[in-house]
Amino acid sequence: MLYVPARNPDTCSLSVSHNVIAGYSLIEPGEEWEEIVAAFRALGGVADNIRLGFGQNGRGLFPIDPGQPFHLRVPENLMCPIEDISFYGDRIGVRERSTIRTPECAFFERYANAVSWGGGGRQEMAALISAFDALPNEVRALLASDFGMAPWLEGDATARMQAQYLQSRAVSIRGRDVLIPLFELTNHNARGSEWSAEGGLEVTGEASGEICVTYGLLHDPFSMFHRYAIASREPIAFSMPMKVQVGAIPVSIARTFELEKRGERVTPQVIYTNEGLALSFLMLGQSIVPRLPRKMFVELMKPLSVANVDEEFDAVVHANATKFLKLLAALDPHRGELIIVMRKMALYQLEAMTFCVGAREV
C-alpha cells in the first residue's frame, strides 16, 4: 500500500504566490554545469535564469538574476522512467534494456552522476539513512508498525539509500513515475510555483530567493516526511490507513490517493468490496475549506444509510490524533536532528487535522 503520492501536476494548483526565502548562497557555475545545461538545451530543454544554490532547504534552484523571470522546461524525451534507472557501484545510470535514445541516456548519466546522485544526492541520502538507523529502538519500532516507515529502516542500507533517492525524486506523469532532470532539484513549498506537465514539464515565474514548487495538493505533513524526510507545514491532513466500522459496515481507509470525479466534484475513490467499503484516502482537515472534510465523509457514507456518521468521523480523527500523540510521547525523551524533524512533522499533522470546522454542502 502506498502511503504518499508522488509529485503530481494535476494537484499542484494551490500556489498563491512565489516563495521568497532570504539568505542563500549560490554555487559558482563550473564548467561541467555549463556543459550539462548546454547539453540539456541541445536536447530540447529550456533553462533560463536558473542556477544551483543552497537555501534553507539545502541544495536547490535559484534565479541567476532575481529581478528577472525564470523558465524551466523539460521535454518528455529527457524524463527518465524510474524503472529504467539502475545503480552500478557508486554510480547511477540507465538500464541496458531501456528504450531511451542514446543521446538522452548519455545526458542523463552525466547529469545524474555530476549534479544529482553524484553531486550530493548520495551523501544526503546516506546521512538520512544513518540518522534513521541511529533512532532509538522504540521509535524505530513505532515508525515501522504505525507509520509504514519500514522502507526507511529495514534492509540493506545501500538499497535503502537508492530506493529512497528515487522515491523522493519521482514525479508521476500520466501514472508513470519519472525522474526529471533539473526539476528534481527544486524544493517544496506549499505556496511554491505552479507547474504543468503537458507535452513536457514546465515551470516559470519570478523568485527573489529559492525557486520552490508545490509537490501537489495531496501532500500532508506526514506524507512529506514519509517521502522526503522533512517537516513541512501543509494546509491539509489525511487519515492514516485504518479499518473502521461505520454502522454495521467495515470501511477501510487507505492513503493511495486515487481520485474519482462525481459531477463537478473530485472525491476519494470509493470501492464496494465483499469486505465492505474501501476509501482511497480520507481528508481530516483543510485550512482553506475547513467545512469540507466532515461533509465529504458524510456524503461518501450516505449510500450506507448509517445514522450518526458524524460520530464515526470524530472517531477516525481521534484515532489519528492518538497515533501522532503517541509518536510525540515516544520522541519526548530524545534529541537529535531527525527527532526534531519528526516532532515538528507530528505537530504540523495535528495542526492540519484541527482545520475541520462544522460541515458544508459539497
Partner: protein, 333 residues
Amino acid sequence: MQTQWSSEEMLEALRALGGTAENIRVDESKGALFACDPERPVVLRVPENLLFPLEGFEFANGFLRLKDPEHGLRDARDFLGHYEIVVGRPLFARAEATVAAFDSLETAVKDVLAGDFGLRTSFEGDPAWRIERQFIERRAIRRGGGWVVAPVLELAEPDARGLAIDMGNGLRIAGAAPDGVRAIYPFQDPLAIFQRFGSAAPQPVAFSLPMTFWSGGIEISIARDLHLGDRRGEVIVPQLNVVARDRLVLSHLMLGHSAYPRLARGIFRARMSEAGLSDADAQFDRIVLENTARLLGLLDMLEENKDQATDSLRTMARHQLEAASWSIGTRKI
C-alpha cells in the same frame, strides 16, 4: 514549642482522633505517601474533625497555621501543629521549586503562558507571595462548596488512575497503591494539575483555555473556573452568566473526556441552545482549533529547550492535547 513527631507517631495520632491509616507509610523528606506493603491495599481516612476549611488558615514562617487559635477541638489543633512540623517543610520546598521552575522559563514562553494559558499569576508578583500561594493551593481539596485541607491525605500525588476520594464521612481513599499512594483530583485537567502541582500528569478531561469568541452578535468568554458549575442530572455543566446584554461568560468549557467522549460537545450544544445561539457545532470546532493551535504553538516553542521545567511543560501540553482529543459524537444533556 512542639516536638517533632516521627511519621509513625503522626499516623498513630491520626488513628487516635478517629482516622484510619492502614498499610500507609509517609516519606517525610518528599512529603509523599507509600504503601508499607505494596502487595496489599491501603486505607486512609481523615475524619471530619481533622478537615480544616482553607479560609481558616494563614501562612507564617513557612507553615500553615489556624487564624483562630481556638478553632475546633484542642486535640485536632495539636495534631495540626505537629503535622505541619513534619510535612510543612517538604511541601514548602516543593512550592519553592515549582515557582523557581516557572521563573526559569524563557521570557517568550512565560509571555505565551501568561497570555494564552491564563497563567499570568504564576509569573507575576513577589516570588515569596507566589510560593505562599502555591503552597496553599497545592494543599486544598475541593469538598462540597468549599476547600479543605486534609492532613496526610493531601500528600497523595495527583493521578487520574489513582484512588478515588470518597467524600461521604470525612475523606477516604482505599485500594491498591503499588507505586505510591495517588489520588484522583476530579475536574482537573493536565493544565490545572500543572498549575497547582507544577508537574505533568495525564487526566481524562481537558477544559478550554480562556478565550473569547463572538456568535450571533454576542460576545462569549470562556473562563477556567473549573469548580463553578450547575448540575444537570448526572452531569455538571458550566455556569452561563449574563454579564451584559450582549455578553456571556461560561465558567469553563469541557473539550474532551476519555470516559465520556460524547459529553463535551453535548454540554456546549446545550448551553448554546439555552443562550439562543446557533451553529454550536462549528463554534465548538473553532474553540477546539484555537486550543489545539495554542498547545501546538507552545510545543513548537519549547522544541529548542531541554530542562526539567520545559520537559514538564511539554508533557503537560501533550496530555492536554490527548484529553482534548476525546470528543467523539454528542449526546443530549
